[in-house]
């Protein structure tokens, strides 16, 4: 079993393609949707963790490509230098997937790696450069 983090980009004319259900039914994959922004009139994006047998994942990626839908595999991950962080919250202003949030108890920054779509917006928004991609 293997898990890859995937961003699927639907062209406007492919919005109706049943990609996710095919990945589940035909390729026996477990899909954990982390972020989805899909509507009929614009390019859609879906970010998900996909878990399954390595051969199934490879075949599924082949299927997505053949269906005329773009995908990207996340190879990098976000590094948070927590020791240098001052917990100001500037990164939470730009995080699109709620991976970075403020605790309403002690107002410390909370990072939920599962929800991170590795977009890198926080690396630029952080005034202390404690966020980086590696």
């Amino acid at each position: 079993m293997k898990t890859v983090k995937l961003s699927i980009i639907y062209p406007v004319n492919k919005i109706t393609a049943p990609i996710v259900s095919t990945l589940i039914k035909k390729y026996n994959l477990e899909i954990n949707i982390l972020h989805a922004d899909i509507s009929l009139t614009k390019v859609g994006t879906l970010v998900a963790d996909i878990t399954g047998a390595e051969s199934d994942i490879a075949a599924a990626l082949q299927y997505i490509g053949d269906a005329g839908v773009e995908y990207r595999i996340f190879t990098s991950k976000l590094i948070w230098d927590e020791k240098r962080c001052v917990h100001c919250g500037a990164c939470t202003a730009v995080c699109p997937s709620d991976a970075l949030t403020m605790s309403h108890e002690d107002w410390s920054l909370q990072f939920n790696r599962e929800k991170c779509v590795v977009c890198g917006l926080c690396t630029k928004a952080c005034p202390l450069s404690v966020m980086s991609l590696a």
Binding site: C88, G89, P127
Partner: protein, 388 residues
Amino acid sequence: MAKTIREINERIRTGTAVILTAEEIIGMVKEKGVAETARNVDVVTTGTFGPMCSSGAFLNFGHSTPGIRMNKVWLNDVPAYAGIAAVDAYLGATEMSETLGMQYGGAHVIEELVAGKDVELRAESYGTDCYPRRKIRTTINRNNINQAYMFNPRNAYQNYSAATNSTEKIMYTYMGTLLPKFGNVTYSTSGELSPLLNDPEYRTVGIGTRIFLGGTQGFVAWEGTQHDPGQVRLENGTPAAQAGTLAVIGDLKKMDSRYIRAAVYEKYGVSLFVGIGIPIPLLDEDMVRRTAVTNRDIMTQVVDKSGRENLNLRVTYEQLHSGSIEINGKKVSTAPLSSLKMAREIAANLKGWMEKGEFLLTEPVAPLPMHTTRLNRLEIRGDFHEDR
């Protein structure tokens, strides 16, 4: 029953003063009422830790042999203002490096000096009879220069407008990254813990007030630039947008780099996080009421940073803290820019100093202005000629 600062100081000296933070006082007043709190509690501590651009430090490097009348100075390639005496300079927090641009600036040099690191000093001069040297290159740190004191012309803003962006494009501002079409709202005040929101009409905070500044004891030196006490105020006396400001001074050599941190705002520039805490003596019931102010009682305006829309929107800090507010019927996420976690730590530290008798209150030497005239605008009174 009114108390004097002298009486409170006596209790601080003998370790009997009762000190609460500006958050703790809220629960106390709710539970015991104003009168009993006024009898039992002596001081409320406040705190803030946010980006404060109008900051910098005066430095005296000491004289070399032969001497130099420095008229251009760089510290780690960041220009410092040398238009003062021979080996004095003022390093502004937002000044940018001539080699690294806005990735590194005066704020970073200040942070490194506070941390005790070596900094490269370069200076040039035209040479004088008494100071013949024309160039110098050396390293300095906080221990081998004479004075290094922070003098911040404008800190501790009393309230600040929250920011948003109505345009179709992302905006990079000093209020952080503002996403298009009201994609987010940022705000930068510690709310009910904020120094001047706990003494909204400057009854106890004035010129000469001893404060927590960057981890050591500093002082209020003057009203801050853009001090605007005539701002619209709510019934409880707190201003509905930015109002009072403080110029503060303190010994950089004694500061702690935990509370002085350099910052870079994407495509905007350099700034400096400054940690400030101010003690508010509870002289009477009126001061208890003032310091018991909650995020529900403090409001700020939401401003479209593109200047395109007048939102005419006022929200409470409770709403801003909740994570979202409504703009034109749309739910918009809110994000802080000043660290409430660090502000709490500062208020707690200041409380600890007083409990140990290490920090005494001061009577203001003079009050902060409380005039009603508003700020001047800068009118364009001529053309700008490139060749002049």
